[in-house]
Symmetry: C2
Subunit: 241 residues, 2 copies
């Protein structure tokens, strides 16, 4: 999510291949050079694909010889998004080539790329499996990937570009809580990161576990708050014209 103050990122950690094979994997990754750049990637889709892309990024960052292809050397966030897109497309294509076209949809994945490189503003991209990407603006100030629908209405209503980081975190927790209550494929813990504009390292990071007191307060309080909101609306009458 884009704010005037920076970026707020949240991802869950649940992966599944069937309801009897559920695991916890990190889907948020970041790299930073203090004072110079921070790049974060969140992933959705086939885990082998997304781990493959993240591993390749890690290797390039470490291999000095290939430093010109590294996210740590890219000159702009646009270049970062293009590199991630290329890696994602190639990773999906190579899995598909080994397994036949009909398996293509199995290996699909998408990513959100967020961050800031010195000399530029904080930027937010949604990278498609095809390798192309779109950028958020204050007309469309947030992206979701994966199980997007349940949590979308509350973000549409609640987002405000000048809201505080704290309110944005609260909003994302409400959104995730709605999704988690509706769909088994999304689950705790959540990973949270705040990127403050002009500060090239995470301003705040937390793993929100099931016993997190604040998450529990939001989850329990939201039911009550919604009930009050609901009763605050005018009552329907059968006899109104």
């Amino acid at each position: 999510m884009m704010l005037d103050k920076g970026l707020v990122l949240m991802s869950d950690t649940r992966t599944n291949s069937g309801v009897d094979n559920v695991s916890v994997f990190r889907k948020m990754h970041h790299w930073s050079v203090p004072g110079e750049r921070i790049v974060a990637i969140m992933t959705a889709g086939n885990l082998a694909t997304t781990q493959g892309v993240i591993s390749q990024i890690e290797e390039r960052n470490k291999a000095h010889a290939d430093r010109h292809n590294s996210l740590l050397e890219a000159e702009t966030m646009f270049q970062v998004a293009a590199t991630v897109g290329k890696l994602l497309r190639e990773t999906i294509a190579s899995s598909t080539a080994r397994n036949g076209e009909e398996a293509a949809s199995t290996f699909t994945a998408s990513m959100i790329v967020a961050g800031q490189i010195k000399g530029g503003e904080p930027r937010l991209f949604l990278v498609y499996p095809e390798g192309n990407f779109i950028e958020a603006s204050f007309d469309t100030p947030f992206f979701q990937i994966g199980e997007t629908k349940y949590g979308r209405p509350i973000i549409i209503r609640g987002h405000d570009r000048d809201m505080s980081f704290e309110d944005a975190v609260k909003l994302l927790m409400v959104s995730f809580d709605s999704t988690i209550k509706a769909n088994l494929s999304v689950g705790l813990p959540l990973d949270l990161m705040v990127i403050e504009a002009g500060k090239f390292e995470p301003a705040h990071q937390r793993r929100v576990k099931a016993d997190d007191a604040y998450y529990q307060a939001v989850s329990a309080g939201w039911s009550e708050a919604l009930k009050n909101a609901f009763h605050a609306l005018p009552d329907y009458s059968f006899y109104t014209k």
Copy 2:
């Protein structure tokens, strides 16, 4: 939606085959024999399929010779759901047979069957394209078909079996409003019907158009009510453990 008092049904009227071909069609139909039965069907999916099924039901109801296959003669709501399921499966199968297996998904549709026949309770069924069906109970007291996800969290939180019909209508309007704000494939007007247990005709019916004063009050008021609910939640702090 099932309540202790009866059933509350709501459907939108938007159909589309592409964003440049959007039309208004009724997706809620009902038949009643005052004092004896009321049966309502709501539809989602391919319009030719769902209109085909509804037309066949209409013809059977009119043709006295075929009266034993008519919804107006079925002895229980279970029989009604079975008949609707059979018609739905056959209609999809005949379109598929004419057009080849690969077109099967084009013709798919699903239906919600609701109503009461004298001697039984009000009952609610979800009928699948395959013709089989499931029945709601107070463990799972509502069904959605079509674009279900955006509007689901608020129903999960808000449903209460002993709520009034008026509150149930308010809840469904909030749910539809969230979906309409998030997705172009769902749109006004909405059709609303209340079936009161033991009263074998609609207790209340309305077409909710864009200029409906109550809908507008809910739609505008919900944003404000949600903001208040949001602020009523405890604030997040970067420094909480």
